[in-house]
């Protein structure tokens, strides 16, 4: 029986690997990062020291991730079909003033933190201590004296809920909770 070949990280991996580097990146063999950790272990007497030398190494930027065939072990179908969402909250919130007829002062809310109309309306109800009625496309908000409205980019006063949410939060400049006869006029026979 042939004696087993001594394990040599370098030869073994390089000989058998097909590397797929991203254009522009240098194909860094995974061997290198293995060796780094191996050296750290060799250099350490105990785990505590290891952390220290680890910290020192951390100041240098990590090498580009090696592109190893078939790693991590995920089916190609899944790899091809995942689209990550762009980080949406990079710009900060969309703050708009909220006024309510008869209230002495205004409030401000961040439209970005709500996931849709139901949440937004719930939040305004809680904030201003009143209830909005049931929404229907035909009749607006039934069942209460209040109607939530907003001023859009064109300066028009619109009933909250008629347009898709995404469109709403990008076009809403300010909110106003209308009360009384003015509110009842909205949404009926329009």
């Amino acid at each position: 029986m042939e004696g087993s070949v001594g394990y040599d990280n370098d030869l073994n991996l390089r000989a058998t690997e097909l590397r797929l580097g991203l254009p522009g990146t240098e194909p860094v063999s995974i061997v290198r990062s293995n060796k780094r950790s191996l050296q750290q272990v060799a250099d350490d007497d105990c785990g505590v020291n290891g952390c220290k030398s680890d910290d020192q190494n951390e100041t240098a930027p990590p090498p580009p991730k090696a592109q190893i065939v078939g790693w991590p072990p995920i089916r190609s179908y899944r790899k091809n079909n995942i689209q990550t969402k762009k980080n949406e909250s990079e710009g900060g919130g969309i703050y708009v003033k909220v006024s309510m007829d008869g209230a002495p002062y205004l409030r401000k809310i961040d439209l970005k933190i709500y996931s849709g109309y139901p949440e937004l309306l719930q939040a305004i109800e809680n904030m201003l201590k009143f209830t909005i009625g049931e929404y229907s496309e035909r009749e607006g908000y039934k069942g209460s004296d209040y109607a939530p409205t907003y001023e859009d980019k064109d300066g028009d006063w619109m009933l909250v809920g008629d347009v898709p949410w995404e469109m709403f939060i990008t076009s809403c400049k300010r909110l106003r909770i209308m009360k009384g006869s003015e509110a009842r006029g909205l949404g009926c026979g329009v």
């Binding site: 029986m1 042939e2 004696g3 087993s4 070949v5 394990y7 073994n12 991996l13 000989a15 058998t16 690997e17 097909l18 991203l22 995974i30 990062s33 293995n34 950790s37 750290q40 272990v41 350490d44 785990g47 290891g50 952390c51 680890d54 580009p64 991730k65 592109q67 190893i68 065939v69 078939g70 790693w71 991590p72 072990p73 995920i74 089916r75 190609s76 179908y77 899944r78 790899k79 079909n81 995942i82 689209q83 990550t84 969402k85 980080n87 996931s115 849709g116 109309y117 139901p118 949440e119 929404y135 496309e137 809920g161 008629d162 347009v163 898709p164 949410w165 995404e166 469109m167």
Partner: protein, 586 residues
């Protein structure tokens, strides 16, 4: 009556076998055996005696073949004359990760030809990692008049034309399940091939396909198939179209939505929510591509009864997941992307006490700038809240030994523990030690462990632990681990129930390979790639064990003496005759 009881009475020492033989009419025995479903039970039954072997083979209607090359279709047909349902698996699992050459084999056609002759009343075919061409699909569609169920998982070689043939010809089709395959998607017209008179479909899964289908045809199909219980749409189906489908199919038990991101008006949101709330039987939800948090509330009515939620194609943030899970108290299985981060997993622990299975998949694999993903903290949080957890697949960027010890202390019932620390050979990120103690804790504590995938920096100690403690282990996956032959020897010597072993990029050589000599015949297969095994070692194995097929896949430009990829499996069909030139059978 249990088969074992029958055996006892038959073999009672007081009976003289020749005169007092308990003669059991074959029909009765067959009737009893026909109630046995598990193929392992049936295997045991067939080993009792010749009568039982025959009774079993005549009563078996479903055959499961875990490795298509372990047996030939002729042998199967000879032994089991009455098969109506076949499950076949082909390529080694690492073919999913592009480690197996394109033309390796596992073609279904030879099987179909034999089945057409011997099993004309075949009803079900379930294939995993097989190569299947459009011609084969057409042949299938016209050869079996009673054909009912086709399920293809991780297969390749066919196009939507093959699906068109199935839709056109299979008049009794109840199930068409096309999952995660390498399909040549030539367009969505195949769906329109179901005749207007066709009403039997119960399961339709075309989530894998990307082309637009004719929505009117789909709407009519769903409308007339009143028994449909599983519907998994592809990304091209919009939210508005989904609502229209659901209105006509409130009986659905499993739903895979299409794209979950188009702009809806308030009214449309309400209508969608209403349609979903009418689906009282729904227990499984998937799809949700591009899901935007703002539309998830439409799902709330369905969430109360959900047991399986697959969000692995929806890149949700932690807060979005948390809000959704607050409505899912009965969840047993959850698949997510690591975009939910540790915070999202904390929400899992807090909201889903009945959770049994968790899979966390990585989202962005190549983006260097964004630090994201999950760590040990998320896994630990889940383990505190979900004591029933027994199946986990976890892709993470860092892990510690202490965390894993805590996790298995909280959840000692793991049967499947698949941990993938994505940077190969990475140690415990706090102590910088190897992850040996982590997997040691797993195998010591989780006595029911059947499947284990290891990762991180591992020495032979990990494998000593596995060999010593993992007595119920059946499947082991190893990558970039171990220090010497001794590691693999421990596993081969200790894991008596091992059936599948797959190893890549480890320092295991011929001594390790040959230490399993006695063992490979009791296993389904062994895979070793980028290890230290040589051609001579493989030849020796092949010589000593004639009932094993020892196959070596050579790569271009590699050393002649190195065995780059080795695949060893038991077979009663002998060496295969359809191997491509790159695969050498020794």
């Amino acid at each position: 009556m249990e088969p074992s009881e029958l055996k006892r009475s038959k073999d009672s020492p007081n009976l003289d076998e020749s005169t007092r033989r308990l003669s059991f009419p074959d029909e009765v025995l067959e009737r009893v055996l026909s109630l046995l479903k598990s193929h392992r039970d049936r295997s045991s039954v067939s080993l009792v005696c010749k009568d039982w072997y025959n009774a079993e083979r005549w009563s078996r209607t479903h055959v499961f073949i875990g490795n298509c090359y372990s047996v030939s279709p002729e042998i199967v047909a000879r032994r089991f004359p009455k098969i109506r349902s076949v499950t076949l698996k082909g390529k080694p699992r690492f073919s999913d990760f592009n480690l197996v050459p394109e033309n390796w084999g596992a073609d279904i056609h030879a099987w179909l030809v034999v089945f057409a002759a011997k099993y004309p009343f075949l009803e079900e075919l379930r294939l995993k990692r097989m190569a299947i061409s459009d011609e084969s699909l057409e042949f299938l569609a016209v050869s079996f008049p009673n054909f009912k169920a086709l399920s293809l998982l991780s297969c390749d070689g066919f196009s939507t034309n093959g699906l068109a043939a199935i839709a056109t010809h299979c008049k009794n089709l109840t199930e068409l399940d096309i999952q995660e395959n390498g399909i040549d998607d030539k367009g969505g017209s195949w769906l329109s091939c179901f005749p207007e008179s066709f009403t039997s479909l119960e399961v339709l899964n075309f989530a894998n396909l990307s082309s637009d289908i004719n929505f009117d045809a789909l709407e009519r199909l769903v409308g007339r198939c009143k028994s449909m219980r599983v519907l998994k749409l592809n990304r091209s189906v919009s939210l508005e179209q989904l609502q229209r489908l659901l209105v006509n199919a409130p009986q659905l038990a499993e739903l895979g939505t299409g794209s979950f991101s188009e702009e809806l008006t308030f009214r449309q949101c309400v209508e969608l929510e209403s349609a979903l709330s009418n689906c009282k039987n729904m227990h499984t939800l998937s799809g949700l591509w591009d899901a935007k948090g703002i539309y998830l509330p439409a799902l709330y009515p369905v969430c109360t009864h959900l047991t399986f939620l697959n969000l692995s194609y929806a890149a949700l943030r932690s807060d979005e997941l948390a809000k959704l899970l607050a409505h899912c108290p009965r969840l047993k299985r959850l698949w997510v992307l690591d975009t939910v981060e540790d915070k999202g997993l904390e929400a899992v622990g807090m909201n889903c006490p009945l959770l049994e299975e968790l899979r966390v998949f990585p989202a962005d694999l190549f983006d260097e700038e964004i630090i994201h993903g999950v760590t040990e903290a998320g896994f630990v949080a889940v383990s505190f809240g979900c004591p029933r957890l027994h199946y986990v697949l976890y892709f993470c960027c860092q892990m510690t030994n202490a965390a894993v010890a805590t996790i298995v202390q909280n959840c000692p019932d793991f049967t499947h523990f698949r941990l993938c620390i994505m940077n190969p050979g990475q140690p415990d990120h706090i102590t910088n030690e190897p992850m040996d103690e982590a997997f040691g804790a797993v195998v010591k504590t989780c006595t029911k462990l059947q499947r284990l995938s290891v990762s991180g920096r591992l020495t032979d100690l990990t494998f000593e632990y596995i060999g010593r403690y993992a007595k119920n282990l059946e499947t082991l996956s190893v990558a970039f681990a171990g220090s010497s032959d001794w590691g693999m020897q421990c596993v081969m010597g200790g894991c008596s129930k091992l059936r599948k072993l797959e190893i890549r990029d480890c320092p295991f050589g011929n001594a390790a390979l040959l230490s399993g000599l006695e063992k490979y015949e009791s296993m389904r297969s062994l895979w070793m790639s980028a290890c230290n095994v040589t051609m001579n070692g493989c030849r020796l194995l092949a010589r000593e064990m004639p009932r094993l097929n020892v196959e070596v896949m050579k790569e271009d430009g590699s050393d002649d003496s190195q065995a780059d990829k080795v695949y060893v499996y038991r077979s009663i069909a002998g060496p295969r005759r359809d191997a491509p030139p790159s695969v050498l059978t020794l």
